[in-house]
């Protein structure tokens, strides 16, 4: 059964998007990427450390024949900074795909949606394929779609918090109001959070800390892969309606006296 994730016309066999930060080592990261089955990895753009001569590049640890790189604008606080980072990323990378992220607050790391929409408009005009991190607000999601974004990526909870999906109702509404893929981004803590996102009808999940910070990151990466598959299958299968009272699944007739 073909159930590919399609973003901007490109097909992906996995609905899990994974980060490259905070792993115990590059070796562990590589094994996590393999265990996760992900085909999209996020990377950050930072100043070269002028005093670390010849340090092995991150890209040596990423199988770019199998994985699409998604540079992010992590820790940008204005549309201008995010656009500048994307332009640099385009010169660094092999594509114009970007994860747009414009933050509004250092403590919660919540997105500044006004700046995010402004940056998205500029980037789309410049030919970027824009996947924006956003709040769990359906109105903003629609504005981002109208701006030409290739997907919308509402948060489950604050970045790195591991709190899971705080507002499943809003995530479901976002899935209803936009046509582009909806990818839950940030705040996932464990496999059940991923399964819930997929059961709500989301098209994918982007995570990093939940795997990189687990006691056994490689095993957690595998758990996330299974959760994506289980949640997606359950969504496609269609769950039973919730009922207030019991309803036996064994026949009521023919009970022995």
């Amino acid at each position: 059964m073909d159930d590919a994730l399609v973003i901007a016309g490109k097909r992906f066999g996995s609905r899990l998007l994974i980060g490259t930060g905070k792993y115990p080592s590059h070796e562990v990261m590589k094994r996590c990427h393999e265990a996760s089955g992900s085909e999209i990895v996020t990377v950050a753009v930072r100043r070269l450390d002028l005093n670390a001569k010849g340090e092995a590049s991150l890209l040596q640890w990423i199988d770019t024949t199998r994985m699409t790189l998604l540079p992010n604008t992590a820790l940008c606080y204005t549309a201008d900074d995010a656009v500048r980072t994307c332009r640099l990323a385009a010169e660094l990378g092999m594509s114009k795909w970007v994860k747009l992220e414009v933050l509004g607050d250092e403590r919660t790391l919540f997105p500044d949606v006004e700046q995010t929409v402004a940056a998205a408009r500029i980037l789309v005009k410049e030919g970027f394929t824009v996947l924006p991190y956003t709040s769990d607000d359906p109105i903003t999601a629609r504005k981002l779609e109208d701006a030409g974004c290739a997907a919308v990526m509402p948060l489950a909870a604050p970045i790195g918090s591991g709190l899971g999906i705080r507002n499943p109702h809003n995530i479901r509404l976002i899935r209803e109001v936009v046509k582009v893929p909806v990818i839950v981004d940030a705040g996932v803590g464990t496999a059940s959070d991923v399964a819930i996102a997929m059961e709500l009808g989301c098209d994918g999940v982007l995570l990093n800390t939940a795997v990189a910070g687990a006691k056994d990151p490689v095993r957690m990466a595998h758990a996330m892969k299974l959760a994506i598959e289980a949640g997606r299958a359950a969504f496609l299968a269609g769950r039973i309606p919730r009922k207030a009272y019991g309803s036996a699944s064994s026949p009521l007739e023919g009970l022995v006296d």
């Binding site: 980060g19 950050a44 332009r87 800390t209």
Partner: protein, 66 residues
């Protein structure tokens, strides 16, 4: 001549191109360069000659999620 690279002052030889400077920095892998606020295309690196007082940002990919 004196350049500002990633916020650090550096003295380098006159007439250096961006590509030559990147080679001098001992970089492994790809970098992107912004010169005085303008992002340079990779193809411009061997063509653009640096001048005294230029400010550069030299960036690369590092690990990150969100």
């Amino acid at each position: 001549m004196r350049l500002t690279i990633n916020g650090e002052r550096r003295d380098v030889a006159e007439g250096l191109t961006v590509a030559a400077l990147v080679a001098q920095l001992g970089v492994r892998g790809r970098v992107a360069v912004e010169l005085n606020g303008e992002v340079l295309r990779q193809a411009q690196h061997p063509e653009v000659t640096l001048r005294d007082g230029d400010a550069l940002e030299v960036v690369t990919f590092v690990g990150g999620g969100a």
